[in-house]
Each structure stands twice: as structure tokens, then as C-alpha cells.
């Protein structure tokens, strides 16, 4: 053993060497690597110390054990963790939240202390585009390196337990490291050693710590274990009411089912019994993800516009050929590059550490973020090359015509394929089981619907403007473009209809998000739906009514404005409404409503409140 132990270390702080089964309940071996694995015998190099820990159970999956009956919510575990990891007041690798139920005098409160569960199937590791996460053979710990992270926060989206913490002031994520330095010298993590009430324990998985006999995988408020196979076991034997409520602002409560397990349901009334009112809340549509609202919409519009411009002449839209538009053609292409550039700059600057942007490609094997970024980067380069070849052909006078046409064809088709692939991976980013409101095929219909709607609208507005200036009719393209717009809006509408039905059926956080959509953002939601219907009606009228000139330009501009506003509102709702399947917060801590209140009233200016003053 290392010689760093304090002379009077208490016995309860030491890890126990106990027998364990070969596999855990998910069928995974407790022994993290085979006896002859080359991963054995390596140093964790903690603080530059290259010695190898002598813990005899170094290569066994460890995890936390939580006895909820014993937890008194003293927050000693949180304090010990913060002290050990030198955390800022707004950060907590471990947090204590609670759910409550019953009425006085039979009021019951269930406290839950939660940190990273060092899962068997860590979704943070697969989702991280920079490969900042590693699941170590040593103790099965999932460790994250803030020096690799570029602060996109995707791991905080995919983790069902709110374990990774995005520190907006530092621009990177960090999380519980299982106190591997303590494990190396045979000590339990700091939070466990600090627990006053014997609620928190730690050890090899599927063993039963002292004074316990239960090894449940769930507890009221704990998300489904199917997503990640977390390494935490619970004991909770005290009788609980059939219904438990969260004390944070999330409209979710937990009801006991026929099997005696608690399931999440929508809490249509607040804890104090108030019903939710139908409101606009337009100011709350603005979130930290605003750059992503712009980035996704612009990317979808640019991909759609380019595809129509490129394949338009092939499907009979002769007006869109470069020969007929010697000035509009290059101008439009350069315009597409311009707005795509704005989108890319916004999404890059949205990162905690924008200068590490190139690390987005590090995890192409697993991360949809890496694949989306790669898709957009390839699309951007192809569209750039296509624009150069067709918009500035004078630069290529030295190239034989046949070769020039070949390059034009390659870059054009390359942009079409990579653009469509990028939108596919963009939609995959949001198919996250830990965010049920997003985890639906409606994201697919919405994103590709926007490709069909916004792209052609962008194209027709520019071309119509130029044709009108030239006193030429532009109506020959209108019926076909109106078809694209109509199909796009219809896709969006159908997706939204099934989204609503499926959310209502599934219940839980998804239904709660839908509930907020129809209450907190109810009027905005109705306005968005009316916009969608108006857009559909206008698209149909464009297909059948024969108008031309200024009148048509005004009508198209109106339709475009409605469709654009609908798209922006819909996308802003998409980000503002999502509710993670996260652990319950508390009245102050990890309570979205309290955080908003603290920022509005200036409380957040005091660091000890633990809320950063501004997120965006």
C-alpha cells in the first residue's frame, strides 16, 4: 500500500475485501479485464505519481450503495465531495435531492444522494464527440478529462442521472471520478467516508455491505436502468405513500404501479395544489441553445436550397440553371455559403472552448455529434468547391471543359449526399432515451420537413426578386416549389400529431414536457400550430391560384414569413421544453424555477447561492 494514509484513519473509511458473484445482474463480469490482460498493472498516474495501486480488488467493478431509509439529507457527502475536488459553489459532482408524499401527520420524505453511477454501458462515453471519457479497467471507473473536453455539453444531455456537470464559467464538463486516488490506497470515496447516517456505502458490485440486505436497482425518482446499466444499488424499506412528488419545478410525480414499483407521471397540479395556466412565456423560449436553433434551421434551409438548385434543372425547373441566371446563380451560392458560415460560427462559439472545435471529429465511431459535424464540414467544403467551379469559372480557364464538368458533377452530388447525411446525423443527436420529449421519429420528419420547406422558400424568394427586377415572370417555378413546401409542412404536421399521441401514451417526462407545452407555453404552441396550418393553406393556394408579378411576390413573402416564424418558434420550443429523466432536485438546489428566480432577482450574483448569473 501507499504510505499516504493518515495515521488515525477510521475503520469505516476502508474498503472491504469480500466475496462477489462472477457476473452482475445485467450479465456483465464483475472482473473488468481478464487475468492476463495487458491493461493490468498500469499506473493511473494520479497527480504525476506513476506508481501502481496495490488494492487487491483493483480490476473489479465498484459502485455506490445507497440506503435511502438512513439518509437524513445532511449534505455531508456533497460537502466532502466539493472539498475533495475543490469545486466551485455552482458545481456538485454529488447532489442530494428529495421526493415527498402523504399529508401531515403522515408526511414522508425520501432523500436521494446521487453522483455518477460509473455505468456498464456509459452513454456519456459514446456520446462525447471529443473522446474525453474513458471507462477504466481499474474499478470500472468512468473518468472524464476536462483537458480534452470542448464544452459542447452533449454528455449532460445523454446522461439520465445528471452526473456530468457543464461548468459554463470554465467552459468544460467535469464529473465524479470515483475518488480513484482514495481507492488506490484502500479507502472508500470521500462522500461515503463522510456519510453520518450510514446511508451511503461503496464496494464491489453485487455484494451486500454491512447493515444492509437489499440490492434494488430502482427507487422512486430514479430513471430506467435499461439505458446505461448503472452501478448503484438501493435499499428502501420504509413504507412510502402511493404517490410521491418532486419538489423542484419539473411537473412529474411518481405513482406506485401494480407491482409496487414507482413510475413517473405528469403532475398537472403543483405541490401546493395550483393548476397550471395557459400562457405565452415568449421570453422563456430564449435558452442557452439559441445558437443551435439558428444552426439547425439554417443548415436545413441551406441543404434544401442547394439540393433544389442542383437537381432543379434535372426535374424541369429550367429557370434555375446558371445559363439563365448568370448573376443570380453565383450570388445565390455565395449567399448560401455566407449564411451557412454564420450558422457554423454560431455553433462553434456556442462551445465552452471554441478553439478546440477540431476535436469534434474524434469519435466518429460512436458519437452522432462527431458524425453530424463531419457531415456538415464535408457539405460545406463540397458546396464551397461547387461554388468556386460554377460561380467563378474564369479561375479555371486552364481546365478542359469535360474535366470541369466532371468536377462540378462530383462536388454537386457530393454536397447533396453529405448534406442529407448531415441532417440524418443531426436528427440522431436528439434521439436520446434520457430525453423522452426528443426521442421520437418526429425529429426526423421535422428536420427533413424543414429541408423541404425552408430551402425552396429561400431559393424562390431570391430568384423571384431577381425575376421581378428583370420584369420577367417567375411563376413557372412556383407550383413545383409550392409542392415541396407543402410536403415539408405536411411531414412536420404528421410528425407532431404522432409525437403528441405517443408522448401522452408513454407518460413520464415526455408527457410532462408536452404538458408544459400546452400550459406554460400554451399560447405560443397554439400560435405555432396555426402558423403551420396557414403555411399549408398558402402552399395549396400557390399550387392552384394563378397570380404573378408583385401580387405573387407579396403573397410568397407573407407565406415565407409565416413559415419561417413557425419554424423558429417550433425549434425554440423543442429546446425549451425538453425534460431529462434526471434525478429529483430539491427546493433550492437543481431547481430550474429557483435558478430563474435567482437570476431575475440578482441572488445569483452571490456565489454562495450556487447559481451562475447568466447562461447565455
Amino acid at each position: 500500500m501507499f504510505k499516504y494514509l493518515r495515521p488515525k484513519e477510521q475503520s469505516y473509511a476502508f474498503l472491504q475485501d469480500v466475496d462477489h458473484p462472477e457476473k452482475n445482474r445485467y450479465g456483465k463480469a464483475i472482473e473488468t479485464v481478464s487475468v492476463d490482460s495487458e491493461l493490468r498493472g498500469q499506473s493511473l498516474n494520479i497527480n504525476g505519481d506513476n506508481r501502481v495501486g496495490e488494492n487487491p480488488n483493483r480490476y473489479k467493478q465498484h459502485g455506490f450503495y445507497f440506503t435511502a431509509d438512513n439518509c437524513i439529507s445532511c449534505h455531508a457527502c456533497e460537502s466532502a465531495c466539493s472539498e475533495k475536488n475543490d469545486l466551485e459553489p455552482h458545481q456538485a459532482f454529488r447532489a442530494v435531492g428529495y421526493v415527498e408524499g402523504g399529508r401531515y401527520p403522515e408526511y414522508t420524505r425520501l432523500n436521494i444522494s446521487m453522483a455518477c453511477n460509473h455505468c456498464d454501458d456509459p452513454v456519456c462515453l459514446k456520446g462525447c464527440p471529443t473522446r474525453a471519457y474513458t471507462k477504466y479497467a481499474e474499478y470500472g471507473a468512468v473518468l472524464q478529462d476536462p483537458e480534452i473536453c470542448f464544452g459542447c455539453g452533449y454528455c449532460t444531455w445523454v446522461c439520465p442521472y445528471n452526473a456530468p456537470q457543464l461548468d459554463h464559467s470554465k467552459g468544460h464538463v467535469s464529473k465524479c471520478n470515483m475518488c480513484v486516488d482514495r481507492l488506490e490506497i484502500g479507502l472508500k470515496p470521500a462522500c461515503v467516508s463522510a456519510c453520518l447516517a450510514g446511508a451511503l456505502d461503496f464496494g464491489i458490485m453485487e455484494t451486500t455491505p454491512e447493515n444492509r440486505d437489499g440490492l434494488d436497482t430502482s427507487i422512486p425518482g430514479f430513471p430506467s436502468t435499461d439505458i446505461t446499466h448503472p452501478n448503484i444499488r438501493f435499499q428502501q424499506k420504509n413504507k412510502l405513500p402511493d404517490e410521491m412528488s418532486r419538489t423542484d419545478s419539473m411537473p412529474v410525480k411518481y405513482k406506485k404501479n401494480a407491482k409496487g414499483k414507482f413510475e413517473p407521471h405528469v403532475a398537472e397540479k403543483s405541490v401546493s395544489g395550483q393548476s397550471a395556466e395557459v400562457e405565452w412565456n415568449l421570453n422563456k423560449l430564449s435558452t442557452r441553445e439559441n445558437p443551435l436553433v439558428i444552426f439547425t434551421l439554417i443548415s436545413q434551409a441551406v441543404v434544401g436550397a442547394f439540393i433544389l438548385l442542383f437537381i432543379g434543372p434535372m426535374i424541369g425547373l429550367e429557370t434555375l440553371t446558371p445559363v439563365k441566371n448568370t448573376i443570380a446563380w453565383p450570388m445565390f451560392l455565395f449567399g448560401l455559403i455566407g449564411i451557412q458560415t454564420i450558422a457554423l460560427v454560431l455553433s462553434t462559439m456556442h462551445l465552452g472552448k471554441p478553439h478546440r472545435f477540431y476535436r469534434a471529429f474524434n469519435n466518429l465511431k460512436y458519437s452522432p455529434v462527431s458524425r453530424e459535424v463531419a457531415g456538415i464540414a464535408v457539405f460545406y467544403n463540397f458546396i464551397g468547391a461547387f461554388t468556386l467551379l460554377t460561380g467563378l469559372p474564369q479561375l479555371f480557364f486552364w481546365l478542359p471543359e469535360s474535366l470541369l464538368q466532371l468536377f462540378v458533377s462530383i462536388t454537386g452530388w457530393g454536397a447533396v449526399v453529405s448534406g442529407l447525411a448531415a441532417i440524418y446525423f443531426m436528427h440522431k443527436i436528439y434521439r436520446i432515451p434520457a430525453r423522452p420529449f426528443w426521442d421520437h421519429w418526429q425529429v426526423f420528419t421535422s428536420f427533413y420537413g424543414n429541408v423541404l420547406t425552408l430551402g425552396p422558400l429561400l431559393l424562390v424568394l431570391v430568384f423571384a426578386f431577381i425575376q421581378v427586377l428583370n420584369n420577367e415572370s417567375w411563376m413557372q417555378v412556383v407550383p413545383m416549389i409550392a409542392v415541396f413546401v407543402f410536403v415539408g409542412l405536411l411531414m412536420e404536421g404528421i410528425g407532431l400529431y404522432f409525437h403528441k399521441n405517443d408522448l401522452m401514451k408513454s407518460g413520464g417526462e415526455g408527457a410532462a414536457a408536452y404538458f408544459e407545452q400546452t400550459t406554460k407555453f400554451g399560447r405560443t404552441y397554439i400560435a405555432r400550430n396555426l402558423g403551420l396550418l396557414s403555411g399549408l393553406a398558402l402552399a395549396i393556394s400557390m399550387m392552384v391560384i394563378d397570380v404573378d408579378g408583385i401580387a405573387a411576390a407579396v403573397l410568397w413573402s407573407g407565406a415565407a414569413a409565416i413559415v419561417l416564424l413557425t419554424a423558429i418558434t417550433g425549434r425554440a420550443l423543442f429546446y425549451a421544453l425538453v425534460m431529462p429523466t434526471t434525478m429529483p432536485g430539491a427546493f433550492f438546489w437543481r431547481n430550474k424555477k429557483f435558478q430563474e428566480h435567482a437570476r431575475e432577482t440578482g441572488l445569483a450574483e452571490m456565489p454562495q447561492v450556487g447559481v451562475l448569473p447568466d447562461l447565455h
Binding site: I337, P354, F357, N381
Partner: protein, 120 residues
């Protein structure tokens, strides 16, 4: 520590060792190595930046290639592009310099380490 660099000054506790380190660190050879490393980092980051952002500069080129274009339009497109590039690249160079060069004694082969970010 790897074979291309020494320990960092901040990791050395012994006063005598720190003194020797400081003398070598301030030598003409080490200063030249650090200047060269800085240049390599600038070239590395600019090249990588251009790989992703060249269509941005294409806009300015396109504006410039149109006859009778006002120089103001070219500058309007070029200046924001250069500002964003500068903001991103300068931070990248500074971070890499801090992590890979500053406070180290550089030995033969350090260029590979700088280019491949510690993978050599």
C-alpha cells in the same frame, strides 16, 4: 514526462534543480526552440483552421473578383472572417503553447510532439 521534454519547472521541488533548470531554460538554444515551436504551432493551427473555413474566405475572393466591386464590400466580408479566425486560432495556439512548450526544456523530436499533440 516523455523523452522529448523535461519535467516542468513547476514540478521540480528541489531548489538546486530549479536553479539549473532555469539556467538551461533561459539559454539561447532553448529560447530558439521555443520560438520555433511557436511558429510551428501557428502554422499547424492556421492550416487546420483553413481546412475547415476556406469557403469563408472564398466569399471575399468572390467579391474581389467581381469587376468594379467596392473595396468596402471585400473588407466587410473579410474582416469578420479574420476576426473569428483570430479569436479561435489565437486561443488554440496559446493553449497548445502552454501545454506543450511553456516551462519545458525542449529536446530533439519535440516538433513531432507539438504537431501530433503528444502522440509521438
Amino acid at each position: 514526462m516523455d523523452k522529448y521534454t523535461s519535467r516542468r519547472l513547476s514540478e521540480i521541488k528541489n531548489d538546486f534543480e530549479r536553479g539549473v533548470f532555469q539556467v538551461v531554460y533561459d539559454s539561447r538554444k532553448q529560447r530558439w526552440h521555443r520560438s520555433f515551436a511557436l511558429m510551428v504551432l501557428i502554422v499547424k493551427h492556421v492550416s487546420r483552421g483553413l481546412l475547415f473555413s476556406w469557403p469563408l474566405y472564398l466569399l471575399a475572393l468572390a467579391a474581389y473578383s467581381i469587376p468594379d466591386t467596392s473595396i468596402l464590400l471585400v473588407l466587410f466580408l473579410l474582416l469578420p472572417a479574420m476576426y473569428v479566425s483570430w479569436a479561435i486560432l489565437s486561443r488554440g495556439v496559446r493553449e497548445d503553447y502552454e501545454n506543450l512548450v511553456h516551462g519545458y526544456l525542449l529536446r530533439t523530436g519535440y516538433i513531432g510532439r507539438i504537431i501530433f499533440h503528444g502522440k509521438v
